[in-house]
């Protein structure tokens, strides 16, 4: 690990001022940053510990929205009784992620910014060829072991999967992220994440020195009847092979789908909103045949590499099962 300076910021203004110096990174829970500093992927000269900034760890639920401060811990939000009632998908996406220890450390802001688990990206010693880490150097995964790589949203430069769970739920339900730099701005989470294109090193919309202050999730009937289903190689403490964040709002008759929300994890280069599935469900009766038909559209445009074709078969089944659970017909 490269030598670095550790600073603890007492307030947001100090943190932002210090972050303006080149080579500086914010340090929250450290579960991504410290890990990647050890691998040599991240090489900051200074880290600013932001976990002591006041007022950024609160969860509030109003009549219209949930607001979560960037420094709230994954475990704290997962256990919040109000969140579990109005937005089960958020709680489930969080408690099915990582482990109890990691969730006690990891912050919501850091969670959005976690980086891919592509083994070639993490292995700096053996693989110089990684366009994400080393722009223009090639991609070792393209013809390597790519079982965990993306089938949606990939480019010729990079096929790395976005590994997180929470962000999948956030894009399904139109959440926004509040960002502070020279001025404050609000960006939809769906736009916050970028496709790799020919610049896979640019993963999101945050400029150097900008800080995430928090996220906001608008309340809706679909959010109240929502579910996160995560399928993986082992029962717990594992990233998704395929996951789905879904929600269903019904008409007054209790059998017709008024609105559906669907996003996919573990299969794409960014948290993946599946609008075609949502549109195929709107106005239809809630039953298994309708759901399976609609879920079949989740993989439109998917492209497999040598080892990851199973995701194209798996994801629609995960979407269908999640929708049936949310709809109460599983």
């Amino acid at each position: 690990m490269r030598a670095l300076e550790y600073l603890r910021a007492p307030d947001t203004a100090t943190a932002l001022r210090e972050a303006a110096q080149p080579g500086t990174r914010f340090l929250a829970g450290g579960t991504t940053l410290v890990d990647l500093m050890k691998c040599g992927v991240e090489r900051p000269a200074r880290v600013i510990d932001i976990t002591h900034l006041p007022g950024l760890d609160e969860v509030t639920v109003s009549d219209t929205a949930i607001r979560i401060g960037a420094l709230a811990k994954m475990s704290q939000v997962a256990a919040d009784a109000r969140v579990r009632t109005v937005a089960p998908v958020i709680s489930e996406a969080l408690w099915r992620a990582a482990s109890a220890q990691l969730r006690n450390m990891a912050s919501i802001g850091g969670n959005l910014l976690q980086r891919t688990r592509c083994t070639y990206f993490r292995d700096t010693a053996a693989y110089p060829n990684c366009n994400k880490r080393n722009p223009g150097s090639g991609c070792a995964a393209m013809d390597g072991l790519n079982r965990n790589h993306a089938v949606l949203g990939a480019s010729d430069a990079c096929i790395a999967t976005y590994p997180g769970d929470l962000a999948v739920a956030l894009v399904a339900f139109d959440a926004t992220v509040r960002i502070m730099g020279r001025f404050e701005r609000v960006v939809p989470v769906d736009q916050f994440f970028r496709l790799p294109g020919d610049r896979p090193d640019l993963e999101h919309d945050l400029a150097p020195g900008e800080m995430i202050l928090g996220i906001e999730i608008p309340l809706s009937d679909a959010l109240r009847r929502s579910h996160y289903l995560k399928v993986r190689d082992r029962a717990s403490y594992e990233f998704a092979a395929a996951s789905a964040a879904v929600g269903i709002a019904l008409e007054a008759d209790g059998r017709t789908i008024r609105e559906a929300r669907v996003a996919l994890g573990g299969v794409a280069t960014k948290p993946w909103r599946a609008r075609a599935v949502e549109q195929a469900l709107a106005g239809k009766p809630l039953n298994e045949a309708v759901i399976r038909d609609a879920a079949a559209q989740a993989m439109a445009g998917a492209q497999a590499r040598e080892h990851n074709a199973y995701k194209i078969a798996l994801a629609p089944k995960v979407v269908a099962r999640a929708l049936m659970s949310a709809g109460g017909i599983a």
Binding site: E5, S75, Q101, N104
Partner: protein
Amino acid sequence: MATQRAVRLRINGRDHDLTLDSRVTLLDALREYAGLPGSKKGCDQGQCGACTVHVGGQRVLGCLTLAMQAEGREITTIEGLAAPDGTLHAVQAAFVEHDAFQCGYCTPGQIMSAVACIHEGHAGSDDEIREYMSGNICRCGAYPHIVAAVRDAAARLGKGTSL
């Protein structure tokens, strides 16, 4: 660039004054500088739980925490779990009674994790214990006995006991 400095860590109720490089993890500070090698290093990448300790009353991973992040907070390690007279903590006793280990390498992390798991109220059933203890890998596969030990200790301690 000031990367080396004095750090006071409060471990098991006692202050330790150490001089540390900013890169030193809490796990290495405990093992290499504070003379407390009970917390183990398995993967050093957050993937096994062998390094589990309590910081501020919560279970965390020592290998992904910089020592400086833990300054000013209460740190508890496996060495601080037994009573001053040597009486084992109920979870330690249950692990011995249920033979909940083979090589023992994962055991300090398992025990620190189990104490917190019970305290959080996440030891209500065997399934819940398996889910909330999943952050601790045991290469010897002692899982059935670990679950039995946690279940037994939870019954003896009751939910929401103090750490």
